[in-house]
């Protein structure tokens, strides 16, 4: 059985509560106040989205209105070189480089907004596991939506494909 996405479930519950309150009170306009909290969350997210400093906010489990997907790629390339390589991959791709912290090997990129989406933030972090192995941790997060409609997964697949292709020199 397919796992139900918690933010999507939450949105569904909110909608059902809205319908219930609307039915019980008979005031649909007043019932809309139920959506004030999630809308506030989403506006805050839109304001903070372009700053890597707020990474922990976007990746926090408490930020229940965002859909996140995390994945890891391992590589034998040293972290400093890997960081430069990932920047090069992003530069040559459809992903847009937003922000980066060289000292921490952290990168923030995003996909462009279109008719279907406001875009997703993709946080990339390079971690040195030992002298021979480094890890690229990729987390794709929706900005304005509790369900990614598989876009997070597609972002990850696209990034992995680009990275693999870039290793053919």
């Amino acid at each position: 059985m397919k796992k139900i996405n918690p933010p999507f479930l939450l949105s569904l519950i909110l909608y059902l509560i809205y319908k219930l309150v609307s039915h019980l009170t008979g005031e649909p306009i007043f019932s809309l106040s139920i959506f004030i909290i999630p809308i506030t969350f989403l506006i805050v997210n839109l304001i903070l989205r372009k700053r890597i400093q707020f990474k922990s906010w976007f990746l926090s489990k408490l930020n229940i209105f965002l859909d996140k997907e995390e994945s890891v790629i391992t590589s034998g390339i040293p972290p400093d070189l890997l960081y430069e390589k990932v920047l090069l991959v992003i530069d040559e791709s459809k992903f847009k480089l937003i922000d980066s912290i060289t000292e921490k090997f952290q990168i923030l990129t995003s996909t462009s907004p279109n008719f279907w989406t406001w875009g997703e933030n993709i946080y990339v972090e390079i971690i040195e596991k030992n002298n021979t192995i480094s890890e690229i941790k990729i987390t794709s997060v929706t900005i304005f939506g509790s369900y990614s409609w598989n876009r997070n997964k597609k972002n990850h697949q696209h990034f992995c494909k680009l990275f693999e292709q870039s290793l053919t020199i």
Binding site: G76, P78, L81, L88, S166, L167, T168, I169
Partner: protein, 69 residues
């Protein structure tokens, strides 16, 4: 790894820096560094051709097969 890239040896023989080779062949320093460390997945014939041209050497001077033990 069975295939070893001896780019650093050839660079030393030709008294060239990686950056200089990068400018000569039009491949980024990052990609050449990855190649030098034998961490690349594959090498294109065009890349090999331009490196051989720039360093005036044979592909065998750059690539070496070492049997895994």
């Amino acid at each position: 790894m069975a295939i070893v890239v001896n780019l650093d040896v050839m660079l030393a023989k030709r008294k060239l820096q990686l950056k200089e080779l990068s400018e000569m062949v039009g491949i980024s320093v990052v990609n050449l560094s990855i190649l030098k460390k034998s961490k690349g997945k594959a090498i294109r014939f065009t890349t090999l051709n331009s490196i051989c041209l720039a360093l005036d050497c044979q592909p065998g001077d750059i690539l070496e097969y070492i049997k895994d033990e």
